[in-house]
């Protein structure tokens, strides 16, 4: 189709294999494909389908691996063995679970709105899978190098709130609706710090493209943008509804919230979407803050990327194993009173730094490693006092619940929380 | 050469202190944090050091006119701003930042424990910044902005203890009366603008005046307006009555704002536009108003019982001195007096604060005998009073004497008036200052704040506000040290700065020469120096005319010294020996006494006669009648008509928003089709 799309080597490889004779491919050195000229649109469709299947399968595989890995690692943390029966080290347990889920009965509640009830899993999973298309998992290995990649990711993932609202509403279940309300409030709140924390990175790179972001990272942005990383990481945890922000599907309290009435493969798809979101989130963090596929030479870029993603996922699991869950008011006030301020501080400091640093506007070049190190030094100097200050301000006002005392009503709730990890 | 960023830094440092105190310190460290004081002291100290450098730079390199920056640049309006660092500015820089620094140090103890300590320091920093900006403004509108900033910070500080109704009222009064004068200032600015917007730039104005490009009549109107602003700010007659009331603010505020700096802004304004005044016909008016104020205010000071009010009247009187000096063209002596007056008057005010610290009251009737308890305060105040009275060889003597000598030299009618007024005022000044000293420090202790409160209770009067606790001892060193510094300056500043003959490295008439002969943009150099090319046609006054080298006139000095000594002696006779009974004197001259005690009934004139009777009863009533009988009536008839029409049309409104939207859409379609059919 257009030159831009052919920049992606992955796409080019498949496309030009199918339609090698087309104009763009010849200039890239491909000789001949098996489709005649004039059928470029067919080649395009075939390529798209092939890549889509490839990436969805990849994402699914990643999710299965993640589920297995999480259960194993959590078990380690909790001094258990974890799944170890099916396959080597229990690695096929997830597959078995998936098969079991598929063969369960598909139940639709009587009062449910069938249309929305069936649509919700689709809306939930499609945006997450679309995110995989713009993440470069190696040099040139991505479906589409959008020049608005980061914005695309933020925009596309924001649709998941609608899916949750649909799932909750169509279940016609009070608990699901309450859970859905909480989830939507949480998602909407955390989208703001998430987007704003990326602005700091954006100011430094001057591009929204994922590839451009990686290329700008002579120094990984986790070092240059500590505040941005902290906020983005926490906001991403909340968006993926991971511990400690997983109160929307708190199994012990809300009976898995908006997923309550789903069963069989619809449940499977919703569940898949959440875990795929974790993988996607870890990939974005690795791309934006850990310099993506960059590394030193003998090890191929794909391995670097996967290694970084695994590290981020391990961190997420670690947090799940160690931290208790927050209350909804704590979660929301963290977003509005904590992370929002931190992003503002980060934005101001970064804006001043980028303005003061170089005349990038004049020559259009990126910041050099030295300049990035200076930025990193200033940002770290700002990081500690501001986190301390905001933390102090947040901690200074305990929540006063004047309506009732929930602890008296449910005295066992706290104990259940302690064993929540073991229930997996 | 003093670079422009440094000059801006002089202003920016207190601004930074203001912002820091007002936001961060108050929010994070609380309203009583001592840090606020240290921040302001550090900032003002920085400004002071930079001011010294600025003065040194001007002394060695001459005036620096920094470049203009665009402020507003739209069609038909081009405003600029910039720094004008000339001799006048340099001296004002040093005076303002120096006195401010001492006052800030003093306040650290004086305001200790006040519940709005941080607010005090942020306002003081704001004031200092505004005053420093005022004296260094290059553009008249820039100057006006700072002028109003000075006014607002004065308002905020007078009303600092706003929980007291009297303080709030005093702040309001000060603000309104100075605003009244500012109105004239604003008119003058508008007039300058209408004549030629370029003249808003002060150096350009100097140049135009020097080239005779501004007609005398034009200059007169501008100068009148400017002088109106000066009258308001410098509390000259007839806009004087706000200054005594302004003593409701903290004493340190009075010391900084209402004696040494802000009130001299009016004098500064006249000095800043001195060539314009010279070219106009208002110089005599300036001299007469100044002379009248000098005597008039001093006379009210004779009978005041509140020590701060005595000092306030004295301030007005001394400002009148400066204004009348400017009026007779004695530019250098006026500034010299401004310079010396700043030190001893600030010292006296700080001393009054120190006395209040010990006795808990400002009312001199309840003081007495404090000499034994507070030696440092006593001696510094005596030195200040002697200097203010103008006794040889203290600084007040030299500066006052130059004014009188110049008046004597003028040998004109106005000159004689000024001379006589100056002598009378000198006598009165000496009397009331020593009356104050004797009532405060000599005799028996009369109980202080507790007794005053008790007497008020016995007489069924409301308890006087602002009373503290009596604990008779010397104030802490942080308060005494500024007093000592100021007293030292009051002793030596006058002679050392502007000696009659060469003293070591200091040249003869160093100060006067500095502000006049070196100031070539305002004064053409006299016959001693080089006459610049084209100076023959120049309309600028020459330096000698502006009082650069007055002859030391021994008869005048002797007469003024005798007058001052006579005043002191009279006070001694009345309040120490009792040879002349104050009570008997008051009874014999009861008519004059009550007029003086009633402050010539100016407050009553303004509030009762002019505002209540004039405005409210006459003007407002007649306007109200016109309003009801004509304007309202027309409206009522129109409203009735509208109501009748509306009642008929109301049925169109059915309250359904969608119906309105539908009508709107139909209207859109109609307009569009009409356009398609008949349009284009």
């Amino acid at each position: 189709m257009s030159e831009t799309i052919l920049d992606s080597s992955l796409f080019r490889n498949v496309y030009c294999y199918v339609a090698g004779g087309s104009e763009g491919c010849v200039s890239h050195g491909y000789s001949e494909g098996f489709l005649p000229a004039g059928y470029e649109w067919l080649a395009f469709a075939i390529t798209a389908a092939v890549l889509a299947i490839l990436f969805i399968q990849g994402a699914l595989g990643g999710v299965l691996a993640l589920i297995w890995g999480e259960r194993r690692i959590l078990a380690r943390f909790q001094n258990r063995v974890g799944p170890n029966r099916w396959g080597p080290f229990g690695s096929l347990t997830s597959v078995a679970d998936a098969i079991k889920t598929m063969f369960k009965e598909d139940i639709v509640p009587d009062q449910a709105d069938r249309f929305l009830f069936n649509l919700a899993p689709v809306i939930m999973v499609v945006p997450v899978l679309m995110v995989f298309a713009v993440i470069p998992i190696g040099v040139g290995t991505l479906v589409a190098d959008l020049n608005i990649g980061l914005l695309f990711v933020i925009a596309i993932t924001s649709a998941s709130g609608l899916a949750i609202a649909m799932a909750a509403w169509s279940s016609a279940n009070r608990i699901a609706i309450f859970s859905g309300l909480r989830a939507v409030a949480l998602l909407v709140s955390y989208e703001i710090p998430m987007a704003l924390s990326l602005l700091g990175v954006l100011m430094i790179t001057g591009t929204l493209s994922m590839t451009g972001t990686i290329e700008a990272q002579d120094v990984p942005f986790i070092i240059v943008q500590p505040l941005g990383f902290l906020v983005f990481f926490l906001a991403a945890l909340a968006e993926m509804s991971r511990t400690p922000f997983d109160l929307t599907e708190a199994e012990s309290e809300l009976a898995a919230g908006h997923l309550n009435d789903y069963s069989s493969m619809k449940f499977g798809v919703l569940f898949l979407a959440e875990w795929a979101a974790t993988v996607a989130g870890a990939m974005i963090i690795a791309t934006v803050f850990l310099s993506g596929w960059r590394g030193f030479s003998p090890i191929p870029s794909h391995i670097w990327f996967v290694g970084k993603v695994v590290a981020v996922i391990f961190l997420i699991i670690w947090i799940r194993a160690t931290w208790p869950r927050l209350r909804i008011d704590q979660v929301l006030s963290l977003a509005w009173k904590g992370l929002f301020e931190l992003t503002m501080i980060n934005l101001i400091v970064t804006a001043i730094l980028t303005a003061a640093m170089a005349d990038r506007e004049a020559d259009g070049s990126l910041f050099s490693a030295g300049e990035l190190w200076i930025m990193a030094a200033v940002n770290w100097a700002v990081f500690f006092p501001s986190v301390y200050l905001i933390g102090k301000l947040l901690a200074s006002k305990p929540y006063e619940d004047d309506s009732s005392e929930p602890q008296e009503l449910y005295p066992v709730a706290t104990e259940e929380k302690a064993f929540e990890g073991a229930a997996d | 050469m003093f670079s422009e960023p440094l000059a801006w830094l002089i202003i920016a440092l207190p601004v930074a202190a203001f912002v820091l105190n007002g936001t961060a310190v108050r929010a994070f460290l609380g309203p009583q944090s001592l840090v606020a004081g240290w921040i302001t002291i550090a900032a003002v100290a920085g400004s002071f050091v930079l001011s010294i450098f600025a003065l040194e730079s001007v002394a060695s390199d001459g005036a620096t006119i920094h470049q203009q920056h665009d402020w507003i640049d739209v069609v038909g309006l081009h405003l600029t701003f910039g720094i004008l660092l000339d001799q006048l500015t340099a001296i004002m820089f040093v005076v303002v930042s120096g006195v401010s620094l001492l006052v800030q140090i003093y306040s650290q103890q004086y305001m200790h424990g006040d519940r709005s300590y941080t607010r005090y320091y942020s306002f003081m920093a704001l004031f200092t910044a505004a005053m420093l900006g005022l004296v260094s403004s290059r553009n008249v509108i820039q100057l006006f902005v700072y002028w109003e900033l000075v006014g607002i910070s004065s308002y905020l500080l007078i009303g600092f203890w706003m929980e007291r109704p009297s303080a709030a009222a005093a702040a309001k009064k000060a603000f309104l009366m100075t605003r009244f004068g500012d109105f004239g200032f604003l008119l003058a600015i508008l007039y300058i603008f209408s004549v030629n917007p370029e003249y808003l730039d002060i150096p350009a104005l100097y140049e135009a005046v020097g080239a005779g490009a501004i007609a005398a009549s034009v200059a007169t109107w501008i100068a009148l307006g400017l002088f109106m602003g000066a009258i308001g700010k410098s509390a000259q007659f007839p806009l004087h009555s706000w200054l005594p009331d302004a003593m409701e603010g903290p004493t340190s505020v009075s010391a900084l704002i209402h004696s040494a700096t802000m009130v001299t802004a009016g004098v500064f304004l006249v000095a800043r536009f001195f060539p314009l005044f010279e070219a106009s016909n208002v110089m005599d008016l300036v001299a007469l108003i100044g002379a009248f104020t000098a005597v008039f205010a001093a006379s009210m000071g004779l009978v005041a019982n509140d020590i701060k009010r005595v000092l306030a009247y004295s301030t007005i009187s001394q400002l009148g001195y400066m204004v009348m000096a400017l009026g007779i063209g004695a530019y250098a002596p006026a500034l010299f007096h401004l310079f010396t007056h700043a030190f001893f008057k600030a010292g006296l005010f700080l001393g009054a604060g120190s006395v209040h610290h010990a006795s808990g009251t400002f009312n001199m009737r309840f003081m007495g005998g404090l000499r034994k308890d507070m030696k440092w305060t006593y001696w510094t105040m005596v030195i200040g009073s002697l200097s203010l009275a103008g006794l040889f060889p203290l600084s007040g003597f030299w500066s006052k004497d130059e004014i009188l000598a110049t008046a004597f030299e003028r040998e004109s009618g106005v000159g004689w008036v000024v001379l006589i007024a100056g002598l009378v005022a000198a006598f009165m000044t000496a009397f009331y200052m020593f009356r104050a000293i004797y009532m405060t420090f000599h005799g028996e202790y009369r109980g202080g704040a507790e007794v005053e409160a008790e007497m008020a209770r016995n007489a069924n009067l409301p308890e006087p506000v602002g009373l503290g606790h009596t604990h008779r001892h010397e104030s802490p060193w942080m308060m005494v040290a500024p007093l000592i510094v100021l007293a030292t300056l009051a002793v030596v500043a006058g002679f050392l700065v502007n000696p009659l003959f060469d003293v070591g490295p200091i040249n003869k008439h160093a100060f006067a020469t500095f502000v006049t002969e070196r100031n070539e943009s305002v004064f053409s150099v006299d016959q001693h120096g080089d006459v610049p090319a084209g100076a023959e046609e120049s309309h600028l006054p020459d330096a000698v005319h502006a009082g650069a080298e007055p002859e030391f006139n021994i008869p005048v000095a002797a007469v003024s010294s005798v007058m001052a000594a006579g005043g002191i002696l009279l006070a001694y006779a009345m309040y120490i020996t009792g040879a002349v009974s104050p009570v008997a004197m008051g009874r014999r001259l009861s008519a004059i006494y009550s007029v003086l005690l009633g402050k010539y009934y100016f407050d009553e004139l303004y509030e009762d006669r002019i505002v209540v009777r004039g405005f409210y009863n006459r003007l407002a009533r007649s306007l109200a009648w016109f309003d009801t009988a004509w304007i309202d009536n027309v409206n009522v008839q129109l409203a009735k008509l509208t109501a009748n029409v509306g009642r008929g049309l109301a049925n169109v409104q059915n309250g359904q928003a969608q119906a309105y939207a539908a009508v709107m859409a139909i209207g859109f379609v109609v307009v569009l089709f009409a356009f398609l059919v008949w349009g284009s």
């Binding site: - | 409104q653 309250g655 359904q656 928003a657 969608q658 859409a665």
Partner: protein, 116 residues
């Protein structure tokens, strides 16, 4: 896809939104229809930006980068309109909530205090 066709699509969406504004009774549904109106306008703005030249480009001759940028004014307006629409919807929802709290209803036909 010509300018006329895009504008026609925009007009159709506008008309649908207008129908919604005129016929729905629930204020929330009304708000949704309003958003459709906004969208129609934004489509038109972007379409003009895509298909019509800016003033400087219309007369052949020198073309500067600024004039090329001016061709994207429509996009800028689109972004501004979208932002304002977002603010508007937030405020409208707050109004709806306030209405619901005050009158226990969100039907616009029940809100006719402005009558007479």
């Amino acid at each position: 896809m010509t300018l006329e066709n895009v504008l026609l699509v925009s007009g159709i969406i506008f008309a649908i939104g207008l129908y919604g504004v005129l016929s729905r009774r629930s204020t929330i549904a009304l708000l949704m229809s309003l958003e459709l109106l906004f969208n129609a306008v934004v489509i038109a703005a972007v379409a003009f930006s895509r298909f019509t030249p800016s003033a400087g480009l219309a007369d052949a001759g020198a073309v500067t980068a600024n004039e090329v940028r001016a061709a994207l004014t429509g996009h800028v307006f689109a972004v501004l309109v979208i932002s304002v629409a977002a603010a508007e919807s937030a405020l409208a929802l707050a109004l709806i909530f306030a209405l619901y709290r005050a009158k226990e209803t969100v039907e616009i036909t029940d809100v006719s205090e402005m009558k007479r």
